[in-house]
C-alpha cells in the first residue's frame, strides 16, 4: 500500500500544473531547479487575514515576513496591496523600499547592525527593537545624524504565567517582560529620538496557551506605559500562523503510524538508513518525539489567528481580541509562510531513474536539498510528477529522491516517497506550495552548483504568462488588439 502524503493544491495551482508544455519549456529554458512564484495569489491571502481583523473589529497591519522568500515579484505584488512588510536585514529593507513600500508600511525586526539601523532611521520605518542596547544605539544614531524621531516597538519575551507554570522555549530575542521597565526608561530618556508605538512578541510555538500568556503580558506592559504617560497603541504578535500542507489528514495519520512501526522494526523502513525523524526504539518502545512540521494542520493561517483572538486571556478572563479592542489597540502580525500559501512551486528535472539490487528505486534530480528545503524544515509532502509524454510504467512506485551534490547526505527528503506513476529521465517533479521557506531560504552555491532561477507566473488576458522574477511588476500590459 503506497503511503502518499498528497499536497493540498488549490485550483489556481492545479491549472498551472495542467500546463505541462509550459512547465517543460520553462524548465528547458531556465534550467533546473526553477522556482516558480505566483504573485497574484497574495491578494487573496492578505484579504483572508484582513477578514479576521474585520470580524473582530480590529485595525492594524499585516507585515509579510520577507525572509520566507527572496522573490522580487512577491514583494512588488504585495506592495500593490494594503499589507506591510517585515524586513530582517539591510538588503531586505533596500529591497522593500525599492519595491514600492513606503516607510509607514515597513517594520524592521531581528538582529541588526549599525548600517541597518541607520537606513531604518533615515528612511523613517518602524524599528522593532530586540534589546535595550539596540534602542540606545538607535538613539545615538538619530542624535548624531540629526534624524527625525524613529517609531520603535519593544520586543518582549519570557512572559510569566500564573497558576500552572506554562513553560516556553527560551528565545534569543527580546527583553524579558519582567525587565520591560528598563526599555521604557531608555525610551523616556531619549524621548526626542525614540517614539514608542507598541510592544511585540514572537514565540516559536504552535501552542495557543503560550501565546495567550504572551499577549496578556504585552497588555500589562502597555498598561505600564500608560501609567508613565507614554501612548503606544499597538501590539505585535509576530508570526507562526502556519500552513496546512496536506490534502488529506488520514494520509498523515497513516504515515506517522507506519513510521512508528518502522522505527520499532515492525515493518520495512520508510526512510533512508532507517532515519526516525526524532523517534528511536529502545527496548521495544518508542522514545523521543516526532521532530516534524505538523504538515496536516487544519487550524492554520487566518483561522489560527481567529482562534487566538477568541482565546480567553488567562488573568483578565476576556477574549484576547476583545481586550485589544477594549483598549483601542491595533493588532500587528508578521506571517511569512501563511501569506505565501499556494504562492509557488519548485520544478526539478529528473536526471536518472534506476532500480537498485535491494529493490529500492532511486530518482536523481537536478537540484539539491537546499533548493527544496522540505527536509530542513521538516515538511513531509509529496511532489507532483509532470510527465513530458507518458508514465515510464505502471505506478505507484516508492522512490528515494537523490540530490545533485556530491555528498552522502544530499537527499531531497530522507523519506521514501510514493509517486502515483513512474517518472522517466527528463520528466519534472513539481514541489508545490513551497514559496514559504521551502524555496530559496537556504539555497547555496556549494560545489559551484547554480542557485535556481526564479520565474513569476501570472494571469493576463485569460492566459498564463511568465517572466523572470526580477522583471515582474504588478503592471500587466494588455496585448494589442489585432
Amino acid at each position: 500500500m503506497p503511503l502518499y502524503l498528497s499536497p493540498r493544491i488549490d485550483p489556481t495551482v492545479q491549472s498551472v500544473l495542467d500546463e505541462t508544455t509550459l512547465m517543460a519549456q520553462l524548465s528547458d529554458a531556465l534550467g533546473s531547479p526553477l522556482g516558480v512564484v505566483l504573485p497574484q495569489q497574495l491578494t487573496g491571502n492578505v484579504a483572508a487575514f484582513r477578514s479576521i481583523f474585520s470580524a473582530h473589529r480590529l485595525s492594524g497591519q499585516i507585515y509579510f515576513a520577507h525572509k520566507a522568500n527572496r522573490s522580487s515579484a512577491l514583494v512588488r505584488e504585495l506592495a500593490a496591496t494594503d499589507a506591510g512588510i517585515d524586513v530582517a536585514s539591510l538588503a531586505e529593507l533596500q529591497h522593500a523600499l525599492g519595491a514600492g513600500f513606503v516607510p509607514q508600511r515597513i517594520m524592521a525586526t531581528g538582529p541588526k547592525n549599525e548600517e541597518f539601523l541607520w537606513l531604518a532611521a533615515r528612511s523613517g520605518i518602524t524599528v522593532s527593537a530586540d534589546s535595550v542596547g539596540e534602542l540606545a544605539t538607535l538613539a545615538t544614531l538619530v542624535t548624531k545624524w540629526s534624524l527625525p524621531r524613529v517609531r520603535v516597538m519593544a520586543r518582549l519575551s519570557g512572559f510569566a504565567s500564573t497558576g500552572a507554570q506554562l513553560n516556553s522555549r527560551r528565545s534569543r530575542f527580546g527583553v524579558s517582560a519582567a525587565a520591560a521597565s528598563e526599555v521604557f526608561d531608555v525610551i523616556e530618556k531619549h524621548a526626542d529620538a525614540l517614539d514608542l508605538v507598541g510592544v511585540a512578541f514572537h514565540l516559536d510555538t504552535i501552542g495557543l496557551p503560550e501565546k495567550a500568556v504572551a499577549l496578556e503580558g504585552c497588555l500589562v506592559a502597555l498598561d505600564e506605559c500608560r501609567r508613565r504617560g507614554l501612548r503606544p497603541w499597538s501590539v505585535d504578535i509576530g508570526g507562526g500562523f502556519g500552513v496546512d500542507y496536506l490534502a488529506d489528514g488520514t494520509q498523515w495519520e497513516q504515515y506517522t503510524s507506519a513510521l512508528t512501526e518502522a522505527v520499532l522494526g515492525r515493518r520495512a523502513p520508510l526512510t533512508w538508513n532507517g532515519h526516525g525523524y526524532g523517534l528511536r526504539a529502545e527496548g521495544g518502545h518508542v522514545r523521543g518525539s516526532l521532530n516534524l512540521y505538523p504538515a496536516h494542520r487544519p487550524l492554520s493561517g487566518p483561522a489560527y489567528l481567529d482562534r487566538l483572538l477568541r482565546t480567553t486571556s488567562p488573568e483578565l478572563r476576556r477574549p484576547l481580541g476583545t481586550l485589544l479592542l477594549d483598549n483601542m489597540y491595533e493588532l500587528h502580525l508578521e506571517p511569512g509562510r501563511a501569506l505565501l500559501d499556494q504562492c509557488g512551486l519548485v520544478l526539478a528535472s529528473v536526471l536518472e531513474v534506476r532500480d537498485e539490487a535491494n529493490g529500492d528505486t532511486i530518482v536523481r534530480l537536478d537540484c539539491n536539498a537546499r533548493d527544496v528545503s522540505l527536509e530542513e524544515h521538516g515538511v513531509l509532502m509529496d511532489p507532483v510528477v509532470v510527465h513530458r509524454t507518458t508514465s515510464a510504467g505502471p505506478g505507484p512506485v516508492g522512490v528515494y529522491l537523490f540530490g545533485n551534490l556530491c555528498l552522502e547526505a544530499d537527499l531531497i527528503t530522507r523519506r521514501k516517497v510514493f509517486l502515483p506513476s513512474r517518472p522517466r529521465t527528463g520528466d519534472l517533479l513539481a514541489f508545490v506550495n513551497t514559496a514559504g521557506y521551502l524555496m530559496d531560504f537556504s539555497a547555496t552555491q556549494a560545489l559551484r552548483q547554480p542557485i535556481g532561477r526564479k520565474a513569476a507566473l501570472f494571469r493576463n488576458d485569460g492566459a498564463w504568462r511568465w517572466c523572470l522574477d526580477e522583471q515582474y511588476w504588478p503592471v500587466h500590459h494588455r496585448a494589442e488588439a489585432p
Binding site: 500552572a164 501552542g207 477594549d326 521538516g378
Partner: protein
C-alpha cells in the same frame, strides 16, 4: 468499616452487573469494575499508592518533592498522597487539556509545569521529548525528588496484578471472566488485571482500547502513543481496537443516565468498546459468558470537555432580556450620539455614561465621569431588569459603537426612553482628540 487513614480505603471496589436491558447482550453478562469509587476518585489511586508507598519514609526524611509526568488522575492521587505526608507534588505535563483537572490539582496544592508546545519553525537539533526534559530537570536539581515513573514502573502493574485482578476473580466466585475489556493509558491496569485473570484462566480474551488518532480522550492513548509507554506489551492484548471521543461520550451518557454510574469518558469508552466488541460475539453464542470492563473515574471533572464536544447536552431555556434576541432592525432604530454632541452632553452633566469595556481597559484610559460595567456583567444585570431608572438618561460606550448600539436597542425595548450609544465608540472619541483620563 473503620479505617486509620484514607489510603486504607483504596481498592476493594464493587463489581456491578450492567442491566441487560441497557446493553442488549443476550448471552453475555457484563460487569463493571467500579474503580470510580476509590477515595480520590479513580483507578489510579491504586497505582499511585503502590508506587509511592515504599519510598515515602525516605522521602519524608529528606523532604523530597513527589514528581510525575501526568495530566490527570495519577497526578490527582499523588497530590493527595503527597499532601497527606507533608510533601509537595509537582506534575510535569505536555498540556493539561481539561481545565477542571488543572484547577483541582492547584486546589490540592500541586505545582504544574506545562511543557512548551510544538515549534513552528523546526529546529532539527531539538529531539527532546517530555520524559527526557523531565529527567534533565531531575538530574539538574541534584535529587530531592521522588519520581514515581508511572509509564515504566512495574509497581503500577503490580497494584492491579495483586489488587484489581484478584478482586474481580473473587467477586465472580473464583472464576475469571471470559472477556476483559480495558482502555490503555499507562497500560498498568490492563496489563496487571489481564495477567491476574490469565493465571486463573489462560483463555481469557483481552481487548485493549486506544483512542482514534485524531481524537483526544482524557486518559487513553492513541495507537502511536501506546508505543511510548514502557509498560505497554502488545502481547497482553488479543486485540487492540480503536474508539473515538464520540464513542466515549455515548458510553458515558449510557452509564450516567441509565446505570447509576457517574463515569468519566474513559469508563464510557470502555463500556462502548466492550458492547461493540461483544455484540458480534453474542450473536454467535449458544452458551453463557461473562465479561468485565473498568470504569476508571468520575464524570464531574470533564464538564468543559463535554461542553465543548456536545454543547447541546447543556441546552438551557433562553433568559429574558437577552442580547441575542436583539435584531438588526432593533439596532438600526437604536439612538446614537456623535462624539461632538457627546462631549457637550457629558460636560453639561445630562446623564450617566456607562463604559462596557473590561475593567483593565477602563482603568488604563476612560472618559472622565463614566462608570464601568463590563458587558458580560451588564448583560447579567439586564436579565433581572433595568439597573437604573427610566428617567435617568444613559450613554453607552464600547470600543467601536457596535456592542453599545445593541445594548441601547435592548434598553429601549425594555422600556427605557433615553438610552443612546456613542457612535464609533471610544476609538472614535480618541481619534477625534477628545479627552481620556486615567485615575
Amino acid at each position: 468499616m473503620r479505617f486509620e487513614t484514607m489510603t486504607d480505603a483504596i481498592g476493594n471496589t464493587p463489581l456491578v452487573r450492567i442491566d441487560p436491558a441497557v446493553h442488549g447482550l443476550r448471552n453475555i453478562t457484563l460487569y463493571a469494575k467500579m474503580e470510580l469509587l476509590n477515595p480520590f476518585g479513580s483507578l489510579k489511586d491504586r497505582a499511585a499508592w503502590n508506587m509511592a508507598r515504599p519510598l515515602l519514609t525516605q522521602a519524608v526524611e529528606r523532604g523530597d518533592t513527589v514528581v510525575e509526568l501526568s495530566s490527570g488522575n495519577t497526578a490527582k492521587a499523588l497530590a493527595v498522597i503527597a499532601g497527606m505526608h507533608g510533601l509537595s507534588f509537582r506534575s510535569v505535563t505536555n498540556r493539561m487539556k481539561v481545565a477542571e483537572i488543572k484547577d483541582l490539582l492547584l486546589l490540592l496544592g500541586a505545582e504544574i509545569d506545562e511543557l512548551p508546545g510544538q515549534a513552528e519553525c523546526l529546529d532539527p537539533t531539538d529531539t527532546d521529548d517530555p520524559l527526557t526534559r523531565m529527567y534533565h530537570r531531575l538530574a539538574e536539581s541534584g535529587g530531592g525528588y521522588l519520581h514515581t515513573d508511572q509509564y515504566f514502573n512495574e509497581l503500577n502493574v503490580d497494584a492491579h496484578l495483586n489488587g484489581t485482578g484478584p478482586e474481580i476473580v473473587k467477586d465472580l466466585d473464583g472464576r475469571a471472566p471470559d472477556y476483559f475489556i480495558a482502555c490503555v493509558g499507562t497500560a498498568g491496569s490492563s496489563t496487571g488485571v489481564a495477567t491476574a485473570l490469565r493465571q486463573h484462566n489462560p483463555d481469557v480474551r483481552v481487548v485493549g482500547l486506544v483512542a482514534h488518532k485524531s481524537d483526544f480522550i482524557p486518559g487513553i492513548r492513541t495507537i502511536d502513543e501506546v508505543h511510548e509507554v514502557g509498560l505497554f506489551d502488545p502481547d497482553v492484548y488479543d486485540t487492540v481496537e480503536t474508539i473515538t471521543a464520540d464513542d466515549a461520550i455515548d458510553g458515558l451518557l449510557t452509564l450516567v443516565r441509565r446505570c447509576g454510574t457517574l463515569a468519566g469518558p474513559t469508563g464510557g469508552g470502555a463500556y462502548q468498546g466492550a458492547v461493540r466488541h461483544l455484540r458480534a460475539i453474542d450473536a454467535q453464542l449458544t452458551e453463557h459468558r461473562t465479561a468485565v470492563f473498568i470504569v476508571c473515574d468520575r464524570v464531574e471533572s470533564y464538564m468543559s470537555y463535554l461542553r465543548e464536544r456536545r454543547p447541546e447536552l447543556f441546552g438551557r431555556p433562553p433568559r429574558r432580556n437577552s442580547l441575542r434576541t436583539v435584531t438588526d432592525a432593533d439596532v438600526r432604530r437604536a439612538a446614537t450620539m456623535q462624539v461632538a454632541e457627546a462631549e457637550r452632553w457629558i460636560a453639561e452633566g445630562r446623564g450617566l455614561v456607562v463604559d462596557l469595556r473590561s475593567p483593565f481597559a477602563y482603568q488604563a484610559l476612560h472618559i472622565d465621569g463614566s462608570i464601568n460595567i463590563v458587558d458580560e456583567l451588564f448583560a447579567e444585570l439586564l436579565h433581572g431588569g433595568l439597573p437604573f431608572g427610566r428617567r435617568q438618561p444613559v450613554l453607552l460606550v464600547c470600543p467601536v459603537g457596535e456592542k453599545s448600539a445593541r445594548y441601547a436597542a435592548l434598553l429601549t425595548r425594555m422600556g427605557h426612553p433615553d438610552a443612546r450609544s456613542l457612535d464609533g465608540g471610544i476609538i472614535a472619541w480618541r481619534d477625534a482628540g477628545a479627552e481620556l483620563v486615567r485615575d
